[in-house]
Structure formats: C-alpha cells, structure tokens
Amino acid sequence: MVAVTPETGTSSTADARSGDLADQLRASFDAAVAAEERVEPRDWMPDEYRASLVRQMAQHAHSEIIGMQPEANWITRAPSLRRKAILMAKVQDEAGHGLYLYSAAETLGTSRDELLDKLHSGKQKYSSIFNYPTLTWADVGAIGWLVDGAAITNQVPICRCSYGPYARAMVRICKEESFHQRQGYELLLALSRGTEAQHAMAQDAVDRWWWPSLMMFGPPDDESAHSAQSMAWRIKRHSNDELRQRFVDIAVPQAESLGLTLPDPDIKWNEERGHHDFGAIDWAEFWDVLKGNGPCNEQRINQRRTAHEEGAWVRDAASAYAEKHTSTGREVQA
C-alpha cells in the first residue's frame, strides 16, 4: 500500500502539480514503489504510471482475446476427443484471462467497452505472435509449448508487479498458463514419438513458431521505448533481452527431450556466459508484423470486429431486458 492518499482519494495531477503537494505525493509514491510496496486502485499515482499500466494491461487482455483465434481454429478438427476437450478448455481459459485482465484494467478508471473499442480501431495492440497462422494440428502444440512458454517467462515476474490488481491477476493466470504449456509440450511429444508424418508435422510447427516466439519478448533493450520507466516503476522486472535469454536457456534442453530441433544453427552453449548463444532475430519482420503487415493481422481484427458488431443486437437485448426488469421491478435482475 502506498503511504500517501490525498483527501480526494484519486489523482488530480493538474491540481497537485501546482504546489509542494505534487512533489510530496510523487516522492512518497517513488519511495513506496522502491520499497516494493503495492499500489492499490485508490492510491495516488502519477498519470504516466496509470497510462502506462492501462496500455500494458489492455494489450495483455487483448492478446488473450485475439489469442483465442489461432487455437480455436483447430477445435472442430482436433484429432481425438481428449485433445478436443483440452483445447476447448484452454480457449475458454483464455477468454477468462481476458475478462480478468479487463477487470483489473478497469480499476484504473477505464472501461472494458472503451478498451475493446481501442482494440477494434487499432489504437491498442495485442501480441504480434497471434498474427501468425495455425496451419496444422501441431501448431496447437507449438503454441502451447513455445508461445505459452514465452508468455510465462514474461508474466511470472509480473506477479510481483507494483500495481496490486495486475500482480494478483497474474498469479492466477500464470498457474493456468503453466498448465497449458505442459499440455502443449505433451501434445508435441506425442507427435514427435508418433508416426513419421506426425513427427514431421511437429518439427515443421516448431520451425515456424520458434522465431516469432522469441519476438514476443519485444524489441532489443536499446530499442525498447517503455522499458526503462517500466522497470523503475517496478511494472517490469527484467529487460526484454534478459527474459529472451532466460527463455532460450529453458527451451533448448526441452527441444532436445522432445526429439525436435530448433531452426537456428547458431544455438550453442556458451560456457563463459553460462547461457546459450543464439542467432540474430529478423527485426524487420517483427516491426512489419507490428505495423499490421503480418500474415493474419487483418483476419484477426476483422473476426473480432465482426463478432462484436454481429453481437450488438444481443448486447442491446440484454440491456433492454435489464432496464425493463429493474425499473418495473417485475423480476429481480440476475
């Protein structure tokens, strides 16, 4: 909990800036954050801290929602009933994570509708990884193993994020993500140890998902716009490159035990660094996908918009019903 809460209970930086109070609030905020105290919704916080969190949490929530699409693409074609059940449960979890994160973002004074509008209009982003297509069943496994694996590496430190509601959301989300990741690994293992065709399918998926997964950690440290401030505010705990390295170090032995190779001839254990060296990432591709030119950007956002627009009459009906039944008191609203 941050020590200073102004009388108004919410931040009013314009007023605060006018006097010593501003400096005092800011100093206590910085001190509290530095002391690893948790910031809670009613605490004073700098406007930029609030804006930065809204941006990151919204992008995180959007990624869960858009991330349903590449996997849901295979629900109707899952090759066994057990795998179908696992996949359905996973996609359902993702919708739940999205809801959870939107709620956490709402504690900062925004609303889910507002955030969804920004997603639909392209004003807010989602993880670039979901702009890649799922072309075979093995992609479902590769997403679980690599994409969820990268997400977990990114997200576990957020469980100690300075903003309380975000940190608490992540504790819960990370538990489920770890479970998904194990399932993805296990799916790939079954394919890798299966028929020749299944093994080839698994290898092909890993070949296509490896580099995009490394890009999930964001641009290199010297090109990352928000990193320094996010780290000072304890929103972020480690740099993009640190987390990427951590992920590579975890993934390399896992690939070996899967009996699959990673599509990077430069991967090699570096005794001196105590880490794996790895090849150069194609940053031109990364920026291009981020700009909207990835293989599925258009498709993903169109599906989201269409679902939202075609669902408008359903949401209107629910509102109209709620209105009628609360104003007349004919029936208690559920």
């Binding site: 349903m68 090759p79 359905m88 028929t195 669902g311 009906a317």
Partner: protein, 244 residues
C-alpha cells in the same frame, strides 16, 4: 434386459443416441469459440460444449473406443437427433436449439438418474450440468424474447425454424428406459412456461409425421451433417492408426 447378450445390444442403441447427441451439439458449440457476442458467452458456450463433450466421452466409451466411434463412423451410422446437427445460425438460433435440447436432456437425465438402469450413474452427474445448461438457455430466451424488437423477432424466427426437429426427441429409443409420451408432456410444459415468461408463443406447425423432419435416430441426417463430419474427422482419418 435379463440376458447379457441382449442387454449389450439394446444398450448400444441408446448409448449411441445419447452419446451422439452430446458429441455433435458440443461440436457445434465449439464453432462459436472466438465469435461470441460478448466475452462472457465465450466462456459460457465453451463451458457447455465441454460438459457435453465430457458426457459424450463417457457414453461412447460404454459402447467401444470413443475415438473410433467419433472419427471413423460414417454419416449413416450416427444416431444423434437432427436438431443438434443444425448449423449455429445467429445467436438466437443457437439459443433456441439449446433451449429445446437442454429442456429435453434435463428431463431425460432427471428420469434416468432416478432409475436403476445402466445410465443412472452418468445421468446423476450430468443432470447437474444440464440444469445449468437449461438455466443458461432460459435466461437468454427471456432476454432475447423480452429485449428489443429485433431480438424478439430473431428469437421467434429461430424457435419457428427449429420447431420441426423437436418431435424426434420423443420417439422411443431401444434400451432407453423412459416413457417418451410423459417426457414430451413435461418438456412441453417446461417450454411453455419459459416462452410465456419471455412473451413468446409456442411455435405452431407439425413436429411429427412423415412430412416432418426427424430421423436422425435411424441414421438419416440433414445435409449440413456430412460437412460437419468431414471437418471433424478429416485429420483423424488422414493418419490411420496414429495416436494423438
């Protein structure tokens, strides 16, 4: 059902009827993932789909290997109701299908759970799920029926369009120890009550007879079903003998 030989044969027809209903409706609901009108419905529809898939797996395993039965039978061997194979349509269409089916399934499993037949243990568990599914369908029927002009007309159209598929639910199934006529009476009463509260009337028109649809239990399906199976079975069939 005294001799073991007949028991397994008669049970199989009923197992496939109930198992295929759950399997195929689950598949249709799975198609909604990523397309629902609101995030809460992404969760709810997937949840119902998962419950149904769970039921299907238990039921099909009573008759053999669940994957063989799901992925290697052809269209004419499936015993599901034509109702559950109908395409999703708009949200009202999905809700109308869900309302008709979950009211039926809830009544049916309630009765089976109370009995001592081979389905009693499964039904005792499933009836809790079907109560939840029924509630979901009812709540949406109220909201769509008593929401806006548009939602009311869509809901009415959906109820009308699927009405002809409901008679089939009350054909006797070999090995299913229930009284179809009594089931139908209870179903109509429950449905009438929901529709009444939603400001909607029971659809008119035939539900039974040679002119009405409804022979899924005999393996005669509607055209969209073949396409559903093609999608569902394609990958499994492409790798004969593989395990996943």
């Amino acid at each position: 059902m005294s001799s073991t030989g007949t028991e397994s044969t008669t049970a199989t027809a009923a197992v496939l009827a109930l198992g295929d209903d759950a399997l195929i409706l689950s598949h249709r609901l799975g198609e909604w993932a990523g397309h629902a009108p609101v995030l809460e419905e992404e969760v709810a529809l997937a949840n119902i789909a998962l419950d149904l898939l769970g039921q299907a797996r238990i039921l099909l395993s009573m008759a053999g290997d669940e994957d063989e039965l799901a992925f290697l039978r052809e269209e004419r061997s499936f015993r599901n109701l034509q109702l559950v194979e109908q395409p999703n349509g708009d949200f009202a269409h999905t809700i109308a299908r869900q309302l008709y089916f979950s009211l039926y399934q809830h009544e049916l499993y309630g009765e089976l759970a109370a009995g001592s037949g081979p389905f009693a243990p499964l039904a005792a568990k499933a009836v809790k799920e079907t109560a939840y599914h029924r509630d979901h369908a009812e709540q949406w029927t109220l909201r769509l029926g008593d929401g806006t002009e548009e939602s009311r007309s869509r809901m009415r159209a959906a109820l009308d369009a699927l009405w002809k598929f409901t008679g089939e639910m009350f054909q006797p199934v070999e090995g299913l120890d229930v009284d179809p006529a009594a089931l139908e009476t209870r179903w109509l009463a429950a449905l009438g009550s929901v529709l009444d509260r939603a400001g909607l009337a029971l659809p008119e028109g035939p539900r039974t007879g040679a002119w009405a649809a409804g022979a899924g239990r005999q393996g005669l399906h509607t055209e969209p079903f073949g396409r559903l199976l093609a999608e569902m079975q394609h990958l499994h069939r492409s790798h004969p003998g593989a395990s996943w």
